[in-house]
């Protein structure tokens, strides 16, 4: 009897000691697919809804498919992404930071646009979530983002639209929020070797980019004080520049995504 009890207890005890609490996890599978959605509208169609210079709500069940061409990785774009499809570009406004982690450059986004608004901010088209009574508006909140934005494939090649600096000195609506390439340009002499912005006091700064023509056409390159390269210095050479085309109150305003968008290594042309 005694031995039987002890054997029984021993077996039970050992069983208890060896049963396992599972704390091993398998990594989720690698995926790179589009959601099961089909685009039925274009960015140009959205922009076309904006006819009366006041925010307009999208009432149709529009779904667009656009690729991120500018993200907030460096912090120079903030709470927004530049997205484009074949018809053009628009700024997607999202109230959140580090959007690039889930919506980086080259990722296709499917956006269910119904109930979102098309607005203009200082002349720039934006897709936003709501408009306040006073006419101000707000981007898509992080907490409702998954109801509008459906990220798809990553790694879609992003090709810049090659253009000339002279052709963009005056605002060009068609290029808004698109990635453009300018060749044979450099910073104006007083803007060379300057800090992009003021990271200590968090003040944004514009530097003039000019071409090699005798009349030195120029446009502003705007950098946020929050950009992680704000404290770095502008290059002095001449060459190629990639940037997001934008306008600000009637003037062209270019935004680089990071310093790697500048290929200004050649000799100055002046």
């Amino acid at each position: 009897m005694k031995n039987f009890i002890i054997a029984l207890l021993a077996v039970g005890f050992l069983a208890g000691m060896s049963s396992c609490v599972k704390e091993k996890f398998t990594a989720p599978p690698v995926t790179n697919t589009d959601p099961d959605l089909t685009a039925n509208a274009t960015i140009a169609q959205l922009k076309a809804l904006y006819t009366t210079n006041v925010p307009v709500q999208i009432t149709q069940d529009y779904i667009i498919s656009a690729v991120v061409v500018g993200d907030d990785r460096s912090g120079n774009l903030y709470k927004s992404l530049a997205i484009e499809d074949a018809s053009g570009g628009i700024t997607l406004s999202i109230v959140g930071s580090d959007l690039y982690t889930t919506m980086p450059i080259g990722r296709r986004l499917f956006i269910k646009c119904k109930n979102l608004y098309v607005v203009q901010y200082s002349g720039m088209f934006q897709l936003v979530a709501y408009v306040n009574g006073d006419g101000t508006f707000g981007g898509i909140p992080t907490s409702t983002e998954t109801q509008y934005i459906f990220p798809g494939k990553r790694g879609i090649p992003v090709t810049p639209i090659v253009t000339s600096l002279a052709s963009i000195t005056s605002p060009n609506v068609a290029l808004q929020s698109e990635l453009i390439e300018l060749d044979n340009v450099e910073f104006s002499s007083i803007d060379k070797n300057q800090r992009y912005a003021d990271p200590v006091n968090l003040i944004s700064v514009s530097h003039m980019l000019e071409d090699c023509t005798p009349n030195r056409d120029d446009v502003a390159v705007y950098t946020s004080g929050y950009a992680n390269f704000a404290g770095s210095r502008t290059p002095s050479g001449n060459g190629k520049v990639l940037c997001i085309y934008g306008v600000y109150n009637g003037a062209t305003q270019l935004t680089i995504r990071d310093t790697t968008d500048l290929f200004l290594t050649g000799p100055s042309c002046h």
Binding site: K2, F13, V21, T26, P28, N115, P141, Q147
Partner: protein, 929 residues
């Protein structure tokens, strides 16, 4: 084990009459050797009887010569009887060791088990973990005989009640004579023996500043465990428990030989508690514990050498406190934001992993009949860690981060959508592990390689880290005790303690990425011209870390101290008094292992030593009106060195200490009345304690700054005032009632001074900033706690105890930042916002009911073959919070983050921890002895 009846004949010298005699004796608990002052000695068949006095001595006078049977009884112990011959004026029965009755042992077992394992571990928040300090400590103290101590520790622990409002570091803890307080935090290392409830019955707990034979004690008292093999009940005990707490299953096995004729005693005990899913969703537990002890008695017990080894390797997924909004939207006060699905499987982000094995060698030396010298030497080592999520250049992974909450939104349509999503989508309110993997796999960063050439590296943005504290402790403690005369006994002790603690972050899981880059880019922003500001360790710049690598910070603290104390105690007929003094030398320093880019000259290597000399004195008087009524009063004054964990303003980055770092002072007084008979015990007392010049360092993660912000508070003064009542009565044949109540007030008595730093900046952001919280409550524990218990203990070996508990005056702990001028600048003092910023939330009062029941079945009666041993099956049931009060907030706290720009209090609302609803533990034990 055979009865141990150690008869020590004492020399009493009283005049007696020729034909009658005096019969006297001393009654003790057999195991603990504590005196029993509520026993009754009766000469069977006569009216002669006497109660034991406060010293455990009974005296029966005027006994005619003859032969008698003397019977000694005490509630909770098996009665003892012996035939005596009264044939001389003075008959000394001697020292009688009473065995605790089986039923009581089982009840105490059930209580212990309820206590120690019922402690829900809750993370304050993953990012504020450093402040966790004393959240769940008080409850780890187990039950003992004083009803106040037992109720406060095993019933009121559910409310995180803290005796006198002190943190647990104010109590000196001992294991087999070895001091076991962590010198870094001051707290008792109760977690190192968690789960070993079978062998931790023998404890000696004192509350307050009365005399203690084994140490000078802290202002909170002492807590001593004796787990040596000789102190364990002989026999085998195997049990299985099922519960719905932080564990679901528990098995325990203990075997003790008792003291063998050869002088050896051995005990071994193992426990495992585990749960795949604990009471709170997303929690789990896998906790082992072991204890092994061997004793050898030499030269007729003159020397006892004892070796003890124990440890409790524990892994536990813990819950995270959340806000009222999140609990409301999730539809449960047990919502836990600390877990999420990975590949469809629940995974916790907050995992505690503790294992610090302890080894103790102790020597008890009975020098002679009156004096003893007990010495313990101990070594312990091991790691405590907890995991969390590091996120760099990526969104906050906490699902209940304020920017993700519906209340953050201003647009009503979006708000409604967010609320709906929070209610309906588990994924919205839990951690998104799959997303971390996807983000990390796709993130590439330019990092300079060994040649300085920027190279594209697959680096993780989200990392599960371990915050590790790797400690080594060496302790020596020696206590000398001499009963010089019947009127005077004397204790003195020497102690040396050495503790090293290496603290660092370690990569636990890269979550799909290949490396983690050990730089702090945010530090670079403020120092654009510095080549080094971003480097967490200049000795290994831009290091690519993989799993197991240390990162962010790494430093060692070393402390050693030397203590000497002495205490004479005087015992007279009506008056006992004692005085005690302690002297202590402490020194500590920091040894940085990383050279931080912001502090290249003050982060690496050995810092200057900090030295402190402290003393403490105390004394007390007990006036024994008669054998039943006592009055007592004690007073104490301590100076205390600051704790290492509080001394450095940002220990993780630099060696700078708090401005004017110095000793704190503690003034404490207590006085009370006791009434004791064998059936009724009553204690009513008052206490008042003032802590002055304390130093405390709080670190928390600030999302806007993306770094730790550190508040070092000096001139931190608090006062704890209150009254305590304990009542315990045996009403009628096994029926008993008890009542325990504390009504106290713990407040800040002065404005503190804050030194504020953040780990992204070399600057001291605020120096000597005034914290205007004078007269606010010290939060975190109920200041009113009352319990009424009724019990029935049947002679048929079953019992039921029922407790009714009421808790009140619990306040949210404060965020010092909200009590600065900075927080209310330009606000009108009469404005609602001003008032809200400085208002301290009072948490709701709560009522609970607890049940303890048990039955012991002696199997021998059923099975004739069982002869050699006694076999028992013991059933125990504990139901806590029987009334299923699921709205009982046990602690609430103001978040340390405060938005100075908007002052929007909705961004960082208070966080709460709720007591479990009705929960149970049912155990079946098999015992053989």
């Amino acid at each position: 084990m055979k009865k141990i009846l150690s008869i020590l004949f004492c020399a009493f010298s009283l005049a007696t009459f020729a034909q009658t005699a005096t019969v006297k004796g001393l009654v003790k608990d057999e195991l603990s050797q504590k005196i029993l002052d509520t026993a009754i000695a009766t000469l069977v068949g006569t009216d002669f009887k006497a109660n034991t006095n406060a010293d455990g001595v009974f005296v029966i006078t005027g006994v005619p010569y003859g032969q008698y049977t003397i019977e000694i009884k005490e509630g909770g112990h098996a009665s003892y009887s012996q035939v005596i011959q009264v044939n001389q004026p003075q008959v000394v029965v001697g020292s009688v060791g009473l065995k605790i009755s089986e039923a009581v042992v089982e009840r105490e077992d059930a209580r212990d088990k309820a206590v120690i394992e019922d402690v829900p571990t809750v993370t304050i928040t993953d990012v504020e973990a450093k402040d966790l300090g004393d959240v769940n400590i008080g409850s780890a103290i187990g039950a003992t005989t004083d009803v106040f101590i037992s109720v406060t520790s095993f019933v009121q622990s559910e409310a995180r009640f803290r005796v006198r409002g002190y943190n647990f570091g104010q109590t000196e803890a001992f294991m087999n004579g070895l001091p076991v307080n962590d010198l870094f935090t001051g707290n008792g290392l109760t977690g190192t023996w968690a789960g070993l409830t079978n062998i931790t019955h023998n404890r000696d707990i004192t509350i307050g500043i009365g005399a203690n034979d084994n140490s000078f004690g802290g202002v909170g008292g002492t807590y001593s465990l004796n787990t040596s093999a000789s102190a364990q009940r002989e026999g085998l005990n195997v049990s299985y428990g099922v519960a719905d707490r932080n564990f679901r299953n528990r098995i325990m096995a203990t075997y003790s030989t008792g003291v063998l004729k050869s002088g050896w005693a051995v005990t071994a005990s193992f426990t495992r508690r585990w749960a795949d899913h604990g009471y709170v969703p997303g929690t789990f537990m896998d906790a082992y514990s072991y204890h092994f002890s061997v004793d050898k008695h030499f030269a007729g017990n003159k020397h006892v050498l004892s070796f003890t080894a124990y440890g409790a390797p524990t892994i536990e997924g813990v819950a995270v406190a959340s806000t009222a909004e999140a609990y409301g939207l999730a539809g449960s006060n047990y919502y836990n934001s600390g877990w999420g699905y990975q590949n469809g499987v629940m995974r916790s982000a907050n995992i505690r992993n503790n294992f610090q094995p302890q080894f103790i060698l102790s020597h008890q030396w009975k020098i002679n009949a009156r004096s003893t010298l007990n010495t313990a030497v101990g070594f312990a080592f091991g790691k405590n860690s907890r995991t969390g999520l590091v996120y760099t250049n990526s969104p906050n992974p906490r699902p209940d981060y304020y920017k993700y909450m519906p209340s953050y939104l201003t647009d009503t349509v979006q708000q409604a959508l967010a609320e709906q999503s929070w209610r309906e989508n588990v994924s919205q309110r839990q951690i998104n592990w799959d997303n971390f993997y996807e983000v990390n796999r796709n993130n590439y960063t330019l990092v300079p390689n060994a040649q300085g050439i920027p190279t594209l590296i697959n680096s993780s943005l989200y990392v599960q880290f371990k915050s590790v504290s790797d400690q080594k402790r060496f302790n020596v403690n020696s206590v000398y005790n001499n009963s010089i005369t019947d009127y005077l006994n004397f204790q003195a002790g020497l102690r040396y303690q050495l503790e090293t603690s290496e603290n660092y972050y370690q990569i636990a899981d890269l979550l799909g990425g290949k490396y983690f880059v050990d730089v702090n880019q945010y530090a670079q922003l403020a120092y654009p011209d510095s080549a080094n500001a971003a480097q967490n360790n200049l000795n290994t710049p831009n290091r690519l870390c993989t799993v197991g690598d240390k990162f962010q910070y790494d430093y060692i603290t070393v402390q050693h101290n030397f203590t000497a104390w002495a205490q004479p105690q005087f015992h007279f007929k009506h008056v006992d008094f004692f005085v005690a003094a302690e002297l202590k030398f402490t020194s500590f320093w920091r040894n940085g292992l990383f050279r931080n880019g912001l502090f290249p000259d003050s982060s690496y290597g050995k810092s200057p030593m900090q030295n402190f000399i402290n003393y403490a004195v105390k004394g007390g008087v007990t006036y024994k009106i008669d054998g039943k009524n006592f009055l007592y009063a004690n007073g104490a004054y301590f100076t205390k060195a600051p704790l290492i964990g509080d001394a450095y303003i940002s220990a993780q980055t630099r060696e700078q200490v708090a401005p004017g770092l110095g000793n704190s002072q503690v003034y404490s007084g207590e006085a009370g009345y006791m009434y004791k008979t064998s059936n009724i015990k009553l204690r009513a007392s008052f206490f008042a304690t003032q802590f002055n010049n304390q130093t405390q360092t709080i670190s928390f993660y600030n999302d806007d700054l993306a770094t730790f912000v550190n508040y070092t508070l000096t001139n931190l003064n608090t006062r704890h005032l209150g009254g305590e009542l304990a009542f315990d009565a045996k009403v009628y044949k096994g029926f008993g009632v008890s009542a325990v109540a504390t009504y106290a007030q713990s407040i800040y008595t002065d404005r503190a001074l804050a030194t504020v730093t953040n780990d992204n900046s070399a600057a001291v952001i605020e120096s000597g900033q005034t914290v205007y919280w004078k007269n606010y409550n010290v939060g975190g524990a109920p200041q009113l706690a009352a319990t009424v218990g009724v019990s029935y203990h049947s002679p048929q070996a079953w019992y039921v105890d029922l407790y009714f508990n009421y808790y009140g005056n619990n306040y949210a702990s404060l965020n010092p930042a909200r009590f600065t001028t900075q927080a209310v600048t330009n606000l009108d003092p009469s404005s609602a916002l001003w008032q809200q910023i400085i208002a301290q939330e009072k948490l709701p009062n709560a009522f609970t009911m607890d049940l303890f029941a048990g039955y012991t079945w002696l199997m021998n009666n059923q099975f004739a073959k069982m002869k050699k041993y006694k076999y028992y099956l013991v059933f125990g049931l504990n139901v806590t919070n029987m009334n299923n009060n699921r709205n009982f907030i046990t602690s609430g706290y103001e978040q340390y983050n405060f938005d100075f720009k908007t002052r929007n209090l909705a961004y960082y609302p208070n966080r709460y921890v709720y007591a479990y609803g009705a929960n149970y533990l049912f155990t079946v034990s098999f015992r053989m002895n």
